[in-house]
Symmetry: C2
Subunit: 188 residues, 2 copies
């Protein structure tokens, strides 16, 4: 599944089947023993990119940890997926819209499921009193995903990034923000 590296580097339309074959050490025509079409190859790369962190989210959401632990686990899982599957995740993020309808909507369902489960985690955080009642859980979930993807991009480009450090800083930002706490703070 090393087509991922080519798609990640050159984009779907910028990658010729000859490029992909060369990376695999075979000739262009031989590709079609494995793939029915170039689009099918893209679909498999995209699915490979997200399936692991989507799957891990199932476990996190279903577990009985407190809110903070679930949030930390989510961010850690998302970011470390960028370490383990960086090319495929980049391809998923940037190229999935070039997939044929049917396959794209299947992936979109996985993405929506992930986001809804994350929203559920934030709901739990509100119910348990850890989060402010005013928190918009849809906004919060999108913010987490956006933040993880942005840092994921940076992790992909710079392999020296300390993922553990970034994870902690992201969670700290999400919980506490950057501002100093004032003495006049409204307390529940």
């Amino acid at each position: 599944m090393s087509a991922a590296a080519v798609f990640a580097e050159k984009g779907f339309h910028g990658s010729s089947t000859r490029d992909i074959a060369e990376r695999l050490g075979i000739k262009q025509g031989s590709l079609y023993y494995y793939f029915k079409s170039k689009e099918e190859a893209l679909g498999e790369v995209c699915l490979f990119g997200i399936e692991e962190y989507v799957h891990r989210m199932q476990d996190i959401a279903a577990s009985d940890q407190p809110f903070e632990a679930k949030l930390m686990a989510t961010v850690a899982s998302h970011l470390s997926s960028y370490r383990e599957r960086n090319e495929a995740l980049k391809v998923y993020n940037d190229e999935r819209l070039y997939l044929p309808e049917e396959r794209r909507t299947r992936l979109k369902q996985l993405g929506s499921q992930y986001r809804r489960q994350l929203e559920g985690i934030f709901e739990q955080g509100k119910e348990s009193g850890v989060l402010r009642p005013s928190v918009d859980c849809h906004f919060a979930a999108q913010a987490v995903i956006g933040l993880c993807n942005a840092w994921g991009d940076i992790i992909v480009r710079d392999p020296d990034t300390n993922v553990f450090d970034i994870t902690q800083k992201c969670v700290d930002l999400l919980l506490n923000g950057f501002a100093e706490r004032r003495k006049t703070t409204r307390t529940q």
Copy 2:
């Protein structure tokens, strides 16, 4: 400059010069009266995408507003650029890596300048005591940019999004996080 719409929809390599010409209402060959090459057209679209918010950042950073106002102005400027120049900004974000070396590095310089100015704003926030002393200004600046880009993507796809609402929620997240303030909070 309506090539932006085509690049945004189909990507650089996925857009043929015929596609672009058709959108402009002219024939394919006529494009080359305006552009020396397809890559040059991409370069102009990308520059158009960011030049405004990069320029506005100059003013924000140089102004003598307090930290919170600068942060709000930055987020508002970044997000509203996604309203005004959504296609070009999407192209800048997704396709700029396909530009030839020289032009790509020029754009990278603008991006780095933007980030450094934002880091400076966070430094100011620390000095004025608004931000916690432990804040990592590089992390903070990347987080702001990542958050704005993520919400920018959503704004592009859904024109009904309330940009003002998102701006406020982003700033609230960046300053205060989602967590309830505890009575036992460490105060300076």
